[in-house]
């Protein structure tokens, strides 16, 4: 693509993006650095370089603590719960949102506007306001501290956004494509599976990732609607305790934070190409 950005603007943008990158990377580096410090080094600048930043002697004690040490009882089940809850709620959310968005973008039915505005209104709702009523309801009907008890509120969080993103994607796909498939002998379902769905793939991946992160990073629901048997990592981190009440479990928390950040980073790196839209270019004259 040809752009008329002058060299001066380019340099300016470059400097600005470097500043922003440093700004966002430093906290992450700090967490990694802290997770590699021994308990003694935490508050002692003499054992660290760059002020109190990087430890002179790297130790893996904190990782050992969360995977096989005292904190593993808390961390490992939580990690497992996180994975199950997030994968299941992502899959359900994407499937439901795909069908819903397809119907919204292709069909004319009464109540279409209502669905879209309701979806938008729901996503404006502060999540903390839902927690107390849900807590009471979940306890009454036995969903408290269960995995479905977390998946359901996550669906409520992710579905509206997924529907909006996906219906925008479906609307971009020329309708002729589907009509061509139908004339070529496809049923509506075949046209959807063979033509529309592959073209909407970037949108599906985008929504899947957003849905996954929403659930993965959630703290409010997990800390209030679970006790042990469904607690996810963000909530579990807040229950970490040190060796005694005078020792802060900072290192262990940081180690756990690093561990749960890794899947996020991997997901983004793997799918970033998929997220880039523009797969439809060349379908029609353009």
């Amino acid at each position: 693509m040809e752009t008329n950005v002058s060299t001066k603007t380019k340099n300016g943008l470059g400097v600005a993006s470097i500043v922003i990158m440093i700004w966002t990377v430093i906290p992450l580096l700090w967490i990694i650095a802290t997770s590699l410090k021994s308990t003694a080094a935490l508050g002692d600048p003499s054992q660290n370089t760059f002020g109190n930043f990087w430890p002179k002697h790297i130790t893996w004690d904190n990782y050992q603590l969360i995977f096989s040490g005292g904190a593993s009882d808390l961390f490992l089940p939580a990690l497992w719960h996180s994975i199950i809850v997030c994968v299941v709620s992502t899959v359900i959310s994407v499937i439901l949102a795909t069908f819903c968005a397809y119907a919204i973008s292709r069909l004319n039915f009464p109540g279409k506007k209502l669905i879209l505005t309701t979806a938008l209104a729901v996503s404006f709702f502060p999540t903390i306001a839902m927690v107390t009523p849900l807590f009471n309801l979940w306890r009454q009907i036995g969903l408290f501290d269960t995995i479905p008890g977390l998946i359901i509120p996550y669906l409520a969080l992710t579905l509206p956004l997924s529907i909006w993103i996906l219906s925008a994607f479906f609307q971009q796909i020329p309708w002729e494509m589907e009509q061509a498939a139908q004339v070529d002998g496809a049923t509506s379902w075949q046209a959807f599976v063979k033509v529309v769905a592959p073209l909407a793939a970037p949108g599906v991946f985008t929504t899947a990732i957003i849905a996954f992160f929403t659930a993965w990073n959630d703290f409010v629901f997990s800390s209030n609607l679970t006790a042990q048997s469904a607690q996810t990592v963000p909530a579990a981190l807040s229950f970490f305790t040190g060796a005694s009440q005078f020792v802060q479990p900072t290192g262990a928390i940081c180690a756990a934070a690093v561990v749960v950040t890794i899947p996020v980073v991997i997901l983004v790196l793997v799918f970033q190409k998929r997220i880039v839209a523009g797969l439809t270019s060349g379908a029609v004259k353009g």
């Binding site: 004339v183 002998g185 063979k194």
Partner: protein
């Protein structure tokens, strides 16, 4: 291979406006039929009703004598080429062409699909592009892929929805002849929608002219040109368009802006009882008497040329005139129907390129009154249409169509014998 019959086809949208109104059309097996008209005349809607992408409000659509009104597009066995091609961007050219075959599960083996796709691609000269994605192809190549997807199916009929409108002028000419050749070779019934009258005239065995959802005339290109049924068809077919001049019937003469034409027996009877008529005169029927010999029985007159355009093989001269108040409204409405801009009324003359008439000069022009079409100003009906002659032309073009199909078949069988 099949015939398509449209009986009283009507399409009404939600607001009750008939986009297509009472269309009757009988398309014979192997015929190339064009639907043509200005934008918004319902030609694409009609095509989409035939293929099944639009519901038919009322009327009956038969393919090979079988009512198909309620069949889904996939059950009608028609192939369609869309205006924007509608190729599948995630599939290679090969898979795009193979798509309809793969949908007929179990009907074709992989080897068979491969053979059929390669046959189509060699016919369309797409062999070296089979593994590419549509996004990397040029407009003409995409167009050919869309055609390949249509021919590979061995459908009952081809439907084209303005397939060439996205190509540049040169490519359009090439693809036009390519489509004509392919249709003759395959001998398959074809319906082709266009707004371009050159495509309509060159491709069609028969051309259907539509105006606001109503079929005006269905005839061979020659009949449309020589014997139009009304003002609209006469104005739509022909480039540059036919000149429409207001004429006052005055005793034994037709008084036109530049000249009085004597009324002879037959014409006099036709315009009897009318004060005003509209005279249609094609630009090429006007001659510059200084360089060309004037036609027999011609009427001569002089007029001041306002503007000339020299194109090498021909030359156009523009001669403005004041339209008579009585027919001005009719002419303005016609102009609107033909997507015109309502500019000044002017007469266009197709001069001989040798003519040295310059802007501002007085040209000496002549025309044969027998070449005139005379239209009723209120109904727009062509009063000078010769039914006997029209039938003659229709019979002749039908004979030519059959001969062309026969020739194509012979050549095809000769080819296959040679290759066998």
């Amino acid at each position: 291979m099949s015939s398509i019959e449209l009986k009283h086809i009507v399409k009404k949208y939600g607001d009750g406006f008939p986009a297509v109104n009472d269309v009757n059309l009988d398309i014979k097996d192997g015929e190339f039929v064009i639907l043509v008209g200005p934008s918004g005349c319902g030609k694409s809607t009609l095509l989409r009703m035939i293929v099944g992408l639009e519901d038919i409000t009322s009327g009956e659509l038969d393919i090979d004598g079988k009512r198909v009104n309620d069949l889904a597009p996939r059950d009608r066995n028609l192939a369609m080429v869309f205006q924007n091609y509608a190729l599948y961007p995630h599939l290679t050219v090969f898979e795009n062409i193979a798509f309809p075959l793969r949908l007929q599960k179990g009907k074709h083996s992989d080897a068979e699909i491969d053979r059929k796709v390669r046959d189509a691609s060699s016919m369309l000269e797409l062999d070296e592009h089979l593994e590419r994605k549509p996004g990397n192809l040029s407009g003409g190549q995409r167009q050919r892929v869309a055609m390949g997807r249509a021919i590979v199916r061995e459908a009952d009929a081809f439907l084209f929805d303005e397939p060439l409108s996205n190509l540049d002028a040169k490519l359009r000419g090439q693809m036009r002849t390519e489509i004509a050749r392919m249709q003759r070779r395959l001998g398959i019934t074809t319906i082709y929608v266009t707004h371009d009258q050159i495509e309509a005239m060159t491709l069609g065995d028969r051309v259907c002219v539509l105006k606001r959802g109503v079929l005006q005339q269905v005839a061979s290109p020659r009949e449309l040109y020589e014997q139009p049924v009304n003002l609209f068809v006469a104005g739509f077919i022909g480039s540059p368009p036919m000149n429409f001049l207001p004429a006052r019937v005055d005793g034994n003469a037709l008084k036109m802006p530049f000249v009085d034409v004597p009324l002879d027996g037959a014409l006099a009877a036709k315009v009897k009882g009318k004060d005003v008529v509209i005279v249609g005169l094609r630009p090429e029927h006007l001659k510059d008497t200084t360089v060309e010999s004037s036609p027999e029985h011609s009427v001569k007159f002089n007029a001041v040329v306002d503007q000339t355009e020299w194109l090498g093989n021909e030359q156009y001269a523009y001669i403005p005139y004041e339209a008579d108040g009585a027919v001005r409204e009719q002419l303005e409405e016609l102009d609107r129907d033909l997507d015109g801009e309502g500019l000044r009324t002017q007469m266009i003359v197709n001069l001989d390129p040798r003519s040295r008439v310059l802007e501002g000069d007085e040209a000496q022009l002549a025309f044969n009154p027998a070449a005139m079409h005379v239209f009723d100003p209120h109904t727009g009906v062509n009063l000078t249409r010769d039914e006997a002659k029209a039938e003659e032309i229709a019979a002749e073009s039908e004979k030519m169509r059959k001969a062309a199909l026969e020739r194509a078949r012979k050549r095809d069988s000769a080819d296959s014998e040679k290759s066998a």
